[in-house]
């Protein structure tokens, strides 16, 4: 199997093959001596690359996992060849979305704009309170407020749609 693995903005190719019950690894085309021992089913792993030892922890099984090595956390994106093709097509499909999403769970304390209002990049849209801190969420770019998805006092989850922005001057036709 070949995985395309992106870490710290750099892509690596990891090829895995099982031969005689042992796992063989090629990293970016070069063979690598690897031992991988699961410590528990919770994500702790003893990893050895050549003679180097790593006490690694891995969270998540999906396309994105968080890998902790020596206190630093690496956000790792994994794709196999099929997913790579599918994702490329998907990205092409939705080049821009004018949706402002919540990046954390919280409560909408105040809405500062109304539907139809035109905003500039940086215009405060609403105030979201999380863990007793109030955070001003501002417009990522210029646009017109097409839709408010939340009301004052509403609790929102991480990734929830807050506001849809439409282009200021819609393209002709």
């Amino acid at each position: 199997v070949k995985y395309f693995v992106t870490v710290n903005g750099q892509e690596h190719e990891v090829e895995l093959e099982e031969r005689l019950g042992r796992i063989e690894v090629r990293l970016d085309g070069a063979p690598l001596s690897v031992r991988y021992e699961e410590v528990d089913r919770l994500g702790q792993v003893a990893l050895f690359l050549g003679e180097r030892a790593y006490g690694v922890s891995i969270e998540g099984q999906g396309p994105t996992s968080l890998v902790t090595v020596a206190g630093h956390v690496y956000q790792v994106t994994l794709e196999d060849e099929r997913e790579r093709a599918a994702h490329a097509a998907e990205r092409e499909g939705q080049r821009h979305g004018g949706e402002v999403k919540s990046i954390m769970p919280g409560v909408v304390v105040e809405l500062l704009v109304s539907e139809g209002q035109e905003v500039e990049a940086g215009t405060p849209l609403l105030i979201l309170e999380a863990m007793k801190m109030q955070n001003e969420i501002s417009a990522p770019g210029p646009g017109r407020v097409a839709r408010l998805h939340v009301a004052r006092g509403e609790a929102v989850g991480s990734g929830a749609k807050l506001i849809t922005l439409a282009p200021t001057s819609p393209p002709q036709g």
């Binding site: 199997v1 995985y3 693995v5 870490v7 710290n8 903005g9 690596h12 990891v14 895995l16 796992i23 690894v25 990293l27 690598l32 991988y36 699961e38 919770l42 994500g43 702790q44 990893l47 690359l49 180097r52 790593y54 006490g55 690694v56 922890s57 891995i58 969270e59 099984q61 968080l66 890998v67 902790t68 090595v69 020596a70 206190g71 630093h72 956390v73 690496y74 956000q75 790792v76 994994l78 196999d80 060849e81 099929r82 093709a85 599918a86 990046i103 954390m104 769970p105 919280g106 304390v109 105040e110 405060p124 309170e129 999380a130 863990m131 801190m133 109030q134 955070n135 001003e136 991480s158």
Partner: protein, 508 residues
Amino acid sequence: MFQRILIANRGEIALRILRTAREMGIECVAVFSDFDKRALHARLADLAVGLGGSLPSQSYLDMEKIIAAAQKTGAQAIHPGYGFLAENAVFAERVRAAGLVWIGPPPAAIRAMGDKITSRRVMQAAGVPVVPGLVDPVDDAAAASAAAQSIGYPIALKAAAGGGGKGIRIVREQKDMASAFRTASGEAKAAFGDGRVYLERYLDQPRHVEIQVLFDAHGHGVHLGERECSVQRRHQKLIEEAPSPVVDAATRAAMGATALAAGRAVGYEGAGTVEFLWSRGMFYFLEMNTRLQVEHPVTEMITGIDLVREQLCVAAGEPLSFAQDAVRFQGHAIEVRVNAEDPTNGFLPSTGTIHNLRLPGGPWVRIDSCMYRGMEVGVNYDPMLAKVIVWAHDRPGAIARMRRTLQELNVGGVRTGVPAALAVLENQRFLSGDFDTHLLETMDLSARGDEARAAAVAAAIQRWYGARRRSLESPKEGLRAAWARRGLEAGTRPGSWAAAARAPGEGP
């Protein structure tokens, strides 16, 4: 001394107080909300009383429930910890009125220091240096703009009833005043029920240096030196250390004397902290925190004095057992706060379940933590999960020890600020000691670390094993996948090159 006390708090500070009290032979009553029914502080206490509710207002902020719990269990005194009701003069009064001992300063001292405006007035009268600014708070943006003109930009907006970094905004230009005022005032109103804000000059290259003081009820007071708390994000501290790299013995004595004068001016008793803003060799009174501080362990590590024990002794009416000249400072201590937050995303809160935990250890390492496997981290409470504290003979030794310790720590399930702390501990300005409260904002905290290759290999193998395990656990799926693959290989669906490359057993 008390036989039984109630701890009106949760998290690591409830455990911190419980540990000293139990060592002193004092029984502890824990209180807990519904959300915390599995929490360590409730499990390790002698008695535990459920308060119900999950919001702070229904539990740890509910004065009546807490006082009733103390009376029901026969506790003689209440320790408030920090946060929640710790700096609430009304609660302190109610505790006393219920015939219980309040383990904290007199309500009048809390009141005088709790309102930053009153405290500035009192401090000016006592001859303590304060930062230039307004004495009276403002309640609308127009008044704030007008006042800012006379004080001069940059301006710090601060909640009149504030604390803990809430309700603070820095305004550099006139045009940003309205927006900053709105959020600062809104935050202050939500957190403290008081939207008034006051303005002061924002000083350049500011460092946050604070002095720990301790007063008994018999007129004696000592200071236990300073803590350097300039490594902050969103005006909340991330790393603290003692001593400060910029404070020498003479300055320490001067700041200590000023801090003691500040405490005496309000008739202080118990443990307290006088915060100073340090700018280019000058120090100004900021505020006094009338409680135990989060970062109190670094003082404990360099003085050998258990601050919770001293709080309990003072509250029990005992005189301080040592004088100022008996206080000795030895070595260097550093604390890192482990908060549930994402340093690569502006330190926004991170929530989840801690499913995977590896705590560090080793010589001169202290872990004050409330974490356990299976602990849920929600948004209702403060995001601090643990404090890691180390001691060494000198600052470079303590930094090296903290780096080693944080490399051993692993909190899985939520993101923490630890990678940012590690970045600070490797930062040249931090290492040199020449830094200010802006240090963190000037640093690039996006993805970093030198072990990206190991991370890539580990993630790939984990996924591969995971896929294989799933196929073994559901043999029918595995068979179906194998059948489908054979079909593909036989060319029944030409062109499906991607599907053929799938891992063994990895379903569609």
